[in-house]
Subunit: 533 residues, 2 copies
């Protein structure tokens, strides 16, 4: 991955007409550019790792403290991470990067960390968008990134549809191994190309098809955590009444309790057929009601997304004035839809199953006002499904601040959350004279509610982008917790959401988590500054 | 409920021919009877509740320390509980019973308990079969049962299919309230008639239709726990990535962290149609394989049970030599099934959904060797679905020791667990010269595995029934954990499974739970002697 952004080097994916359009809508000055220094110009503080600590770590695994390794582990891929890297600030870089060869080496690193007061930041794909891998020393002498790339391995129990997987395996590598046996995990977050299994488990992630396959917390049956105080190995049983479910303490623990070294996850037969199609609704509220019915009538597809009017409008505008988009607009006008909202529905499985489930979904969607648009919008979505973070780099290059955030709430409160968050973002950014575009889609369906995924774009304030981001993020977060929605549906807490966690857990919930942390990590070396306020 | 057993007074449900059959198979001496003293003869120790503690509790709620109230809260409904009560031993009786009027009164009780060193045992329906409500003082001065009968109340969010329910409401009372709004929780454990919502949540229960509706841990979205250190109110959001899921710490906490006062649970439209039907398989292994396919091909009914050969044989034998059972046997012989295994499948929902899902299930079952027997076996099962605990009383009256235990494991290991547990029970009881009948059925299906529910019957050892029970229970539990299966699929840990919990959580898992308990219940008054070893 390029050190300052997402993915490998590639040409901009933003066509000129799209840039022109954004320039108009956001009031960008001509030739606006985002700052981006060269790698040589990045400021990197001296490593603070002492000789004794270093020697102890070297007995546990490969230790690197060269410039590139440290910069590559200095940040995740949240907007503030990228803004800092692009301006050449790698200050919260780890003092070294350690690559343990396996679970026993992880234990040796944790023991060395506790003994020498070295903070340990577990590092999988480094794709956190909430500051989850930011190296923070806390009250330690030094901080290392613990890169889990060597923890691979897949052990499949085919009759039970369970796979036991090393935490450092990337999702594509896992799918490659599983597909040889005809099965799939079915977990496709936007970070799919780089995310690791351990990272997904540690952050309680959801993928684009999680409405069908289930979130990672649904898929994880067993898990191993290597904590400074010892190992917690929770076996994969299908269900249990043996007290509180400790798996759910490990899932989402974001490295603050220990290092997830292995997970046993449910897999499914690999789909032979994938159908993604588009539908239009006359309004976001109408579409949301249709999605509620899908979820509650047992007719939900595997992928179900509904863009609001603004996201639909902007997506069509940025797609340009091609023959296809003109035809689509004409078709919708003919059906009485002006503006309207685009939904993408996807079904995966064997041919008979997809046929049967698709008919059930479409029956509900049509009776709820949906207008079927056929496969083209679905294909367009599938082509671009992992494009978001690449486009973010392109937009930052053009002087556009772009950020996403997400939440979930009950169906009865979802439209209130939608209005509150959109309103908060617009107010906060208008107040800085950078009026935003705020886009939203429902990304995941549950019987009791849905998730809202917001994207906002604004002219970047040159030099004060971080303050600008913080103002918008704070306003949105306050609005979210003000409605009783969750501060995050699938991005995790990390550094950026810490102060809002207590709205969900209460003070006593935080205390319960702290108590578990103190028992599992008595020296307090695990991922300081994350999750717990 | 009658003080010494289950349900209200009623004539024995055991026909003479069934008693005769058991007499033969178990080697009961003629006229064998189980001991059962009169209420007046029950030995009850003096209440140890001090005046100051009593005064403090009286400010919090109604306090009763009369003989009947104390005896009625002296035990759950596990076999050892019943054996003790029947012989007139109510020694672990609470020093008093407190009936808080609502959540704030619960808080007042907990504060009084912490101040005056009075242990608090939350008491819902009192149906625990693992000693979960046994009053234990631990290192406190006294112990009270906290009867939650007054914590009722139902608040329905219809668009979100969520109901917020007081912990003390019984399941039938809840279903009554929900049915007025056309919805159901769909949670039907064998203890349904007496179990409370709070008790189900505290014990991570599963109901007979949980293969379809989901276990209580699937149904609980939000929960309130009143702990001595404060309240933990976890909101009902459909999904969240906000750190570890603290709901899963409260669900299954069995009163050791605090008192569950309220839960928000998912509900479903009430079914218009319920179809229960029987199928036969030539062997338990063949049937289990069919059930695995049901679960993994998305074709599972709401109720799915498969009896092994011995349970099938005994059920048919006890049903007697009626025209119906003769016809069934003749039919099976004609289809080449001798002995064989009976399965019950049930579908609930609207007419179209039941029709569609039933056809899917039957297609899989037939292709896996199932022989359809039609509705009669299903109707017989539905009539008797809550009869188990009544029959246990009748059997104890006749000098038969009968106990059930259950577990779950992956499909790939399920037959190993089946053989190991059956073998352990037979060895342990043969060694005491009381060779048992060991029956088993698969009771719940999951994609990754299933649950096994064992029943064993043996001639009761007059006077040493408790030792006899303990020998069998220990052997079965050792066999269960020896295979890596869970020590309990839906009966919880309570008193009886404590020593085996660490096989599942490891020492560090126990430590994590202890840490949470010490933070939430610093004085250690909550339900001593349960859950934690």
């Amino acid at each position: 991955m390029r050190w300052w952004g997402w993915g490998e080097e590639r040409p901009s994916g933003l066509p000129e007409h799209a840039v022109e359009r954004l320039r108009e809508e956001l009031g960008l000055p001509a030739g606006a550019r985002g700052e981006r220094v060269a790698l040589d110009a990045v400021r990197l503080p001296e490593s603070r790792l002492g000789d004794a600590a270093r020697a102890a770590l070297e007995r546990a695994g490969e230790v690197r403290d060269d410039r590139e390794a440290r910069i590559r582990h200095a940040a995740g891929r949240g907007l503030p991470d990228l803004l800092r890297l692009r301006r050449g600030d790698a200050d919260p870089a780890p003092d070294a990067v350690v690559f343990p060869s396996g679970p026993s080496a992880v234990r040796a690193v944790l023991e060395a960390g506790a003994e020498h007061r070295v903070a340990v930041v577990p590092f999988g794909g480094g794709t956190s968008v909430v500051g989850g891998v930011e190296p923070v020393r806390g009250d330690c002498e030094a901080v290392i990134a613990l890169d889990l790339a060597n923890l691979g391995g897949v052990d499949l129990d085919r009759p039970s549809l369970l796979a036991t997987v090393g935490a450092g395996l990337t999702l594509p590598a896992l799918e490659g191994r599983l597909s040889a046996a005809g099965v799939t995990l079915g977990h496709f977050p936007q970070s799919y190309e780089y995310a690791t299994v351990g990272g997904c488990v540690a952050t309680r992630s959801a993928g684009q098809a999680s409405t069908g396959y289930g979130r990672i917390d649904d898929l994880v049956r067993g898990v191993r955590l290597s904590a400074p105080a010892g190992d917690l190995a929770l076996p994969a049983v299908p269900a249990s009444a043996a007290g509180p479910d400790l798996r759910e303490l490990v899932v989402g623990s974001e490295g603050v309790l220990g290092v997830i070294t292995e997970a046993t996850v449910s897999v499914r037969p690999a789909p032979r057929v994938r159908r993604y199609e588009g539908l239009a609704f006359s309004s976001f509220a109408e579409g949301a009601e249709a999605l509620r019915r899908l979820a509650q009538e047992g007719a939900a597809p595997d992928v179900a997304r509904l863009s609001d009017e603004e996201e639909t409008r902007l997506n069509l505008a940025l797609a340009g004035d091609s023959a296809k988009t003109r035809a689509l607009r004409a078709y919708l006008r003919a059906r009485g839809v002006r503006g309207g909202c685009l939904a993408i529905m996807g079904w995966e499985g064997d041919a008979a199953g997809v046929r049967r489930r698709r008919l059930r979904s479409l029956r509900v969607l049509r009776s709820a006002g949906g207008i079927w648009l056929g496969p083209p919008p679905g294909r367009a979505w599938a082509r671009a499904r992992y494009e978001g973070p690449y486009l973010r780099d392109d937009l930052l290059d053009r002087g556009v601040l772009v950020e996403t955030l997400e939440t979930a709430h009950r169906w009865s409160a979802l439209m209130d959350v939608y209005r509150a968050v959109g309103g908060a973002l617009r107010s906060a950014l208008r107040a800085r004279a950078t009026p935003p575009l705020v886009l939203c889609h429902i990304s995941h369906l549950y019987e009791s509610g849905g998730s809202l995924y917001f994207t906002f774009l604004a002219r970047a304030e040159q030099g004060t982008e971080l303050e600008q981001w913080r103002a918008a993020k704070t306003a949105a977060s306050e609005a979210i917790v003000g409605t009783g929605a969750t501060i995050t549906h699938h991005h995790a807490i990390g550094r950026d959401h810490r102060e809002w966690l207590r709205h969900e857990t209460g003070d006593l919930g935080i205390e319960a988590l702290r108590a578990a942390k103190e028992r599992l990590d008595p020296a307090g070396v695990m991922n300081p500054g994350k999750l717990l306020p």
